[in-house]
């Protein structure tokens, strides 16, 4: 594999990690959804490049699915949900932005430290993609636990799936069937979450999780 090909793959994978960090940095809803669209765009570009250098044409379909569903359809749907539910447009983090970013950098270092030694037998491309995809997954989890808003948790969950796609393509191809089933299940999950969000909003007038705690019945 030529160095330029490796470098471009590295560029896309590193860019995905950077966009995950940018997702953590956002404090407005529209910005968050747009950056998520960028996230999906980078992942589809990365998969398309992998399809090119690995000579695996079925990955082009994966890239197309990621592009259409996650970079176009889902952000548009989320924009509409935000407008219809009248969700509060700013996202409050649990701890300050600075600490969250520092934690994010620590998680990236941790995933590199974990992944690189144990994949010493694999090829360079696979090693890089696995380390970066673990970072993206951990950053998505961090986003889910450090935000007080249901929509941002949904986006964190979706970005985890993007990380999984990166891992799967880096490890030499992913059968199309698996990808279709995974994407389909994500779509179903999103529809269900959307329905729940509508119901929660109807019932409690808010989707702020902190405020919803009071209705759990176990609080003193």
């Amino acid at each position: 594999m030529s160095p330029l090909a490796l470098d471009v793959a590295h560029l896309f994978a590193g860019g995905l990690v950077l966009v995950s960090l940018m997702l953590l940095y956002q404090d407005r809803m529209t910005g968050l959804i747009n950056i998520f669209a960028l996230h999906a765009l980078v992942v589809s570009a990365s998969v398309a490049w992998q399809a090119y250098i690995q000579h695996a044409p079925h990955l082009y379909i994966t890239a197309a699915i990621a592009l259409v569903i996650k970079a176009i359809v889902i952000p548009l749907a989320l924009h509409r949900i935000v407008v219809r539910l009248g969700i509060h447009r700013t996202i409050e983090p649990v701890v300050g932005i600075g600490l969250t970013m520092l934690a994010g950098i620590g998680l990236i270092a941790l995933s590199i430290m974990v992944m690189l030694p144990i994949t010493s037998q694999a090829g360079t491309l696979a090693r890089e993609d696995l380390s970066f995809s673990l970072s993206v997954i951990l950053l998505g989890l961090l986003m889910m636990i450090s935000r007080r808003n249901a929509v941002s948790q949904v986006i964190g969950f979706l970005s985890i799936e993007n990380g999984l796609i990166l891992a799967a393509t880096g490890a030499r191809g992913m059968p199309l069937v698996v990808e279709i089933s995974v994407a389909f299940s994500i779509l179903i999950a999103l529809i269900v979450i959307g329905i729940f969000l509508f119901r929660i909003r109807e019932r409690f007038e808010t989707v702020d999780i902190h405020l919803l705690h009071e209705h759990r019945g176990e609080q003193p």
Binding site: G96, G98, L99, A109, I112, M113, L116, P117
Partner: protein, 670 residues
């Protein structure tokens, strides 16, 4: 030979310490004592510098029949001891020179004069000690004499608390060192350093010894979280003693750490090279942030000492990391950087404390917010303090930059480390070091700017007078040395070569043959620095600029009121204060680290009461570590207090119980 002479110097200091109370009433007593200290320290400096520069004369051991009967007192002068002796005696000579002038306004000379030479003697003896007992005895002697000096003005508010806390932490540190030496001596009980060197401990014991050495030496040096006594005790002592404590005694603590970990412990484990730099980095950043929040000039300088100790420990930790991975060249670089910073810091910290003492003597104030405009009244002190501030902020062409530059070069060698944690930790520590260097610049702009520049904020500052010539001589000498060490760093690096060689087994390339006195730590193609050329170019550029301007531009100048955008305010209270200067930084860093909260209380319109701004800070190590520990100790002491009030039958029961327990232990053991 040199060893015997140095021991005689220490004895001379002890003799003058004993003689001082007898002369204390005499008018010239302080001149006598400080004069003797100056001569003896200068002699010690010359002797140890000569020993360091001619390594063949090192290594002699001397055994004196004092101390423990079966042990004696071993003394040895090797390269490491010689280097630290140079640092100590230079600081001691400078402080004695300063004190010849400053000591004249001492209100209670009987409390200071006996202990000052004892303090110097104790420090010298710690460095010369070659067995654990002599080391610990001299260490305690040094601590106690400095405690007596801290308590010299014990009636001033806060000094008694400072002394108590200092005594507590010093005893705690000595306990840790005692345990460390006990573990090192092992079951055989060989307390001489030579015997310990020949019987290196197992890796588990070595790790425990490292932690104990970090606690013991670190608490004396000021590592976070054991630093809490330092900003209370250092300012409480008279200024020349503060300079010695900050600039010199902390270096003795560093010596203790280096001696135990690098010399006596054998080869390090790799995780030591992760723990020590991390502690150093955290100490550096926290130290300088605390310093930025202070308005007392001496407390600011004490916290700045904490920061620089952090930088030194970063260098030492890097040397441990490289040493553990057999990268001796890189270890030599890191160790050289740390030791050079030891030397540099003793120079500029003493200089800064002398300046603060001069200000204190001239105005009676340590609070920066009551000073200002002193550059007009005390121009030479201001110049010396400016040089010290520039040096401590690591600005070329002064010496602080050289040791920081070498530390950065050592950090850049980190990719070659095999352990992943170290690979990531070292650049992170580099980021912390860069952050602390930038914040130190801010801190000293504040310290110099608020104290010396601007307009005088109180009548006392308006009436200040320049200090006496002894103090000025000490300050200007140290300032010149700061510049010299920055311009000609190659000679100092070469002088450190025998020390580094002995401890790591490798060396930096010899610097003195390089063109134009550049320093090249690793290879010419990698990086180099030439302080002399930079200084020359800056002077040339400034000169050319001045010449061209004065030749072709208008030379006229007139004085007028300040412009101030057209609204000059005659009241000096509209200037920035220390608190307002550090407000942006406090806002950025303080809200997370110190829980800094500002509260503004505005009276309603029409009310003529002033508005108030209140800043609340939390001292996290104190709240998390010290306050709960103090409460726990109080609680246990309260429980045990009941033992005081038992009946006779109760005490007999205790004795009986102890006897039975010992007999049971004896049976089980057999």
């Amino acid at each position: 030979m040199a060893l015997a002479a140095l021991l005689w110097c220490a004895s001379a200091l002890l003799a003058s310490a004993v003689a001082a109370p007898l002369l204390a009433r005499h008018r010239a007593a302080s001149a006598f004592v400080y004069g003797i200290s100056l001569c003896v320290s200068a002699t010690g400096l010359v002797l140890s510098a000569a020993a360091l520069l001619s390594p063949a004369s090192l290594g002699a051991t001397l055994v004196l029949p004092v101390g423990l009967p079966w042990l004696g007192a071993h003394f040895r002068l090797d390269a490491l001891a010689a280097f630290f002796l140079v640092v100590i005696n230079l600081g001691g000579a400078a402080a004695s020179l300063y004190a010849l002038g400053y000591g004249r306004h001492e209100e209670a000379p009987g409390r200071v004069l006996p202990f000052y030479p004892a303090f110097l003697a104790g420090m010298n003896l710690v460095l010369l000690a070659a067995d654990a007992f002599t080391f610990l005895f001299s260490w305690e002697f040094m601590s106690l004499s400095s405690w007596a000096l801290v308590m010299a003005h014990h009636r001033r508010p806060g000094n008694a608390t400072a002394g108590y806390l200092y005594l507590l932490m010093a005893s705690f540190g000595t306990l840790a060192l005692l345990l460390a030496f006990g573990l090192l001596a092992g079951a055989s009980g060989g307390y001489e350093f030579q015997a310990i060197r020949q019987a290196p401990p197992s890796s588990a014991i070595a790790s425990v010894v490292l932690v104990l050495a970090l606690i013991g030496a670190g608490s004396k040096a000021g590592l976070v979280p054991l630093h809490v006594w330092l900003p209370l005790a250092h300012p409480a002592a008279p200024t020349h003693v503060s300079a010695l404590m900050s600039g010199v005694m902390t270096k003795v603590a560093v010596y203790g750490f280096v001696r135990i970990v690098f010399d006596l412990l054998g080869s390090p484990a790799w995780w030591w090279g992760a723990l020590v730099p991390l502690l150093g980095g955290v100490t550096a950043v926290l130290g300088v942030l605390y310093a930025l929040l202070q308005e007392d000039l001496k407390r600011l300088l004490a916290y700045s000492t904490v920061e620089n100790i952090g930088i030194i420990f970063i260098g030492l930790g890097l040397a441990l990391a490289f040493e553990a991975n057999e990268m001796t060249g890189a270890a030599a670089l890191a160790l050289t950087a740390a030791l050079l910073h030891v030397f540099n810091h003793s120079l500029f910290k003493s200089l800064l404390f002398f300046g603060a003492g001069a200000v204190l003597g001239a105005t009676g104030e340590r609070n920066m917010e009551r000073l200002g405009g002193l550059i007009h009244r005390m121009p030479r002190t201001a110049l010396a303090f400016l040089v010290g501030s520039a040096a401590i902020s690591a600005l070329p062409p002064f010496n602080g930059f050289v040791s920081e530059w070498l530390t950065f070069q050592a950090i850049l060698l980190s990719p070659a480390l095999p352990q992943w944690l170290l690979k990531f930790l070292v650049p992170a520590v580099g980021a912390l070091l860069a952050l602390s260097a930038a914040l130190a610049g801010a801190c000293f702009v504040k310290a110099f700017g608020i104290t010396f520049l601007g307009r005088p904020r109180t009548p006392i500052a308006r009436e200040a007078a320049e200090t006496d010539r002894w103090s000025l001589a000490a300050m200007l000498t140290l300032a010149a040395l700061c510049l010299l060490a920055g311009i000609l760093p190659g000679y100092f690096i070469d002088a450190l070569a025998p020390v580094v060689e002995a401890l790591t087994g490798a060396n930096l390339p010899r610097q003195e043959q390089l063109d134009w006195l550049t320093i090249v730590p690793v290879a010419q193609s990698r990086s180099s620095y030439n302080g002399l050329l930079l200084f020359f170019f800056i002077a040339l550029a400034a000169g050319v600029g001045a010449e061209v301007i004065h030749r072709f531009a208008s030379r006229s100048l007139r004085r007028s009121a300040a412009w101030d955008c057209g609204f000059p305010d005659p009241s000096p209270s509209t200037q920035y204060t220390a608190g307002s200067f550090s407000q942006p930084i406090r806002r950025v860093f303080g809200s997370v680290l110190f829980g800094a909260r500002e509260e503004v209380r505005m009276p309603p319109p029409g009310d003529s009461r002033p508005a108030t701004l209140e800043v609340r800070l939390r001292d996290v190590p104190w709240d998390v570590l010290y306050a709960p520990t103090a409460k726990a100790v109080d609680f246990i002491a309260g429980l045990l207090n009941r033992l005081q009030f038992l009946t006779i039958r109760g005490y007999l029961t205790l004795v009986f119980g102890a006897l039975v327990a010992l007999l049971m232990v004896l049976t089980l053991w057999q």
